[in-house]
């Protein structure tokens, strides 16, 4: 809801012939679609759709938190993806590039391997994610800073962490580790209201940071010198963007484990329709990402009833197909 309200005051275009009619039409459409998806999700269950009774504890305490988690995670991943694609000037950039997902995975596995009781998985995931990004930024600076250093360190960190996790799994006979991997693998069923309480402000802070940096990111895409000449501090923009992305992704990982593809695909799909102006793209991607993941999770929890399909599986299946279609449309549009 916060995302929808935030979209309202935003202008639709930068054209010299700006008209207010354009912006309110699109916003109204967005709000309507959002409301429809929300209503669909709240009423949908394995027994079909029915008008939701919000007094039912099953719906209030199971379904609503899950819906809220889907919105927060979808928004987080998509906004992080939009920002990082500008930062790395690469449409294939993914929220995992700042090391947050790797750090979260290692923290979760580590906490279980060491048997640290009392530390919950979500807390470990978020903390580990933020630590990993901090480590990444420090390493990148030691390597001289710059876009390439950031990218390389991201790859190095995620490969290394993956190997460490593999080794831990191989040589440990602690069965709990294997269960941790399933938690990590992208599911929305375990988030409760308490987790949402502290993950949401974290995510919104990150999104706010990324929105503020929107135009700096546009300038960054012109090249370092041109950006600097326009008054943009390149290193500070990189740092703040990475931190904003880490906050947002850390919050998401703590709620749902690692869901792939949303962060890469949603911003690209949105850019095909609304163009690449970064501030607007971050906002719209957040909105679309939230609704997209909500839709996917609603399907995931209903289509194989009573089995709960991990939403990551469904996203990995549906996402690329939709994206191929959009890309095809774009190619046709360009020729």
């Amino acid at each position: 809801m916060a995302v929808i309200l935030h979209a309202v005051p935003y202008r639709d275009s930068n054209s010299p012939h700006d008209t207010n009619v354009g912006f309110s039409w699109h916003t109204a459409l967005g709000v309507t679609i959002g409301a429809a998806v929300l209503l669909f999700a709240i009423g949908m269950s394995g027994h079909g759709w029915s008008w939701p009774d919000l007094g039912d504890p099953i719906i209030a305490r199971l379904r609503l938190p899950r819906i809220a988690a889907a919105l927060v995670v979808g928004m987080s991943l998509a906004t992080a993806g939009a920002a990082l694609q500008a930062l790395f000037r690469n449409p294939l950039a993914d929220p995992g590039l700042v090391g947050t997902s790797s750090g979260a995975a290692l923290a979760v596995v580590g906490v279980m391997a060491l048997g640290i009781g009392g530390i919950s998985l979500p807390l470990a995931a978020c903390g580990g994610g933020l630590l990993a990004t901090a480590l990444l930024l420090t390493l990148a600076r030691l390597m001289g800073g710059g876009e390439l250093a950031l990218l390389l360190m991201g790859l190095v960190v995620s490969s290394f962490v993956g190997a460490v996790i593999g080794i831990l799994l191989l040589f440990s006979d602690n069965l709990a580790l294997r269960s941790a991997m399933s938690w990590l693998s992208g599911q929305l069923g375990s988030a409760d209201a308490a987790q949402l309480m502290w993950a949401s402000p974290l995510a919104l802070t990150g999104v706010a940071m990324l929105l503020i940096l929107g135009r700096d990111l546009d300038c960054l895409m012109l090249g370092e010198d041109d950006a600097r000449s326009l008054g943009v501090s390149v290193s500070r923009t990189r740092l703040l963007t990475a931190i904003g992305a880490a906050l947002v992704v850390g919050a998401a990982v703590s709620l749902s484990g690692i869901i792939a593809f949303v962060g890469m695909m949603v911003p690209n799909a949105c850019a095909l329709v609304i163009g690449g102006e970064r501030r607007r793209l971050i906002l719209i991607s957040g909105f679309v990402g939230a609704l997209f993941l909500l839709l996917m999770d609603t399907l995931a929890r209903c289509v194989a009833w009573p089995v709960d399909m991990p939403v990551g599986l469904l996203v990995g299946f549906v996402g690329p197909l939709g994206f191929l279609w959009l890309f095809h449309r774009r190619q046709r549009g360009m020729s």
């Binding site: 394995g46 998985l121 006979d173 069965l175 399933s182 009833w305 009573p306 089995v307 709960d308």
Partner: protein, 267 residues
């Protein structure tokens, strides 16, 4: 007289040599702890020269630790010059059986269903391989008898690995529940599957079991019992949510009759 005593000595010597040869011929390596348990129960611990790290029976102390059963090395086992290598499907990597046969080691994978419903057959298979059929048949019969349901307990039981994944049909948990005379609340499901919490609320279980090593996933038995979908069912209302060791309720083994008894005592 003299001939008789010479013959006796020769026969005794022969018997001694024969039994020594028969005894020296058996060098058994057990790759997995589930099979090791049966080997020890059949009294053949003395034949074992190698066992996996998880097999902790004191009778096997004199044998060598060959490593983790899910990460085995052919060389380590071959160095022990075994005459027989046995294990279950839990032995990994899967290709290890072929490797043993390629280098001429007699290696047999003890087959068996995943849910352990044919456990008596497994006991008998091990016995046959060890050359001790009689004892294994006895043990199998004894075990089977202990696992036969007595009377109708009739409670609905839900066995969950981590609070989300439940044991449906064709799982060891299902075998145990039926042996106790109970009803598997998740009988509509095949195998281990993660359940939608809303669906879980409809299961109406009287007893819920959780694998205790997964505490980080479900909190604690008490916290789990407060979840809305659990609190709504009899198990949650009466506090019949229990944390159990994984080998007691997620595998079928020689101690399963004890597990069954424990289960019946839970409600």
């Amino acid at each position: 007289m003299r001939t008789k005593s010479v013959l006796t000595v020769m026969m005794l010597a022969c018997a001694a040599v024969c039994s020594h040869v028969a005894h020296a011929a058996e060098r058994v390596v057990v790759l997995t702890s589930d099979v090791a348990e049966i080997v020890v129960a059949l009294g053949h611990a003395g034949d074992v020269v190698g066992h996996d790290r998880a097999a902790k029976e004191p009778e096997l102390a004199q044998a060598q630790d060959i490593g983790l059963s899910h990460a085995l090395s052919v060389d380590v086992v071959a160095q022990l010059k075994p005459t027989l290598v046995i294990g279950s499907h839990l032995a990994k990597p899967d290709a290890i059986w072929q490797k043993f046969n390629e280098i001429g080691i007699h290696a047999v994978e003890i087959g068996g269903r995943e849910d352990g419903a044919d456990y008596p057959d497994v006991i008998r298979s091990v016995g046959t391989l060890l050359g001790n059929e009689k004892q294994s048949v006895e043990l199998a019969q004894h075990w089977q008898h202990a696992m036969t349901p007595t009377g109708t307990w009739g409670k609905r039981v839900l066995i969950s690995y981590d609070g989300k994944t439940v044991a449906g049909r064709n799982t060891p948990g299902d075998v145990l529940i039926r042996a106790a005379g109970g009803i598997n609340a998740a009988a509509d499901i095949d195998g281990y599957k993660p359940l939608n919490p809303e669906a879980m609320a409809e299961l109406k279980a009287d007893v819920i079991l959780l694998a205790q090593h997964n505490r980080a996933m479900y909190g604690s038995a008490e916290e789990y019992g407060h979840r809305p979908e659990i609190a709504a069912m009899p198990a949650g209302k009466q506090g019949h949510v229990y944390e159990v060791p994984v080998h007691e309720f997620f595998t079928i083994n020689l101690q399963s009759p004890v597990s069954v008894a424990k289960l019946k005592a839970m409600d």
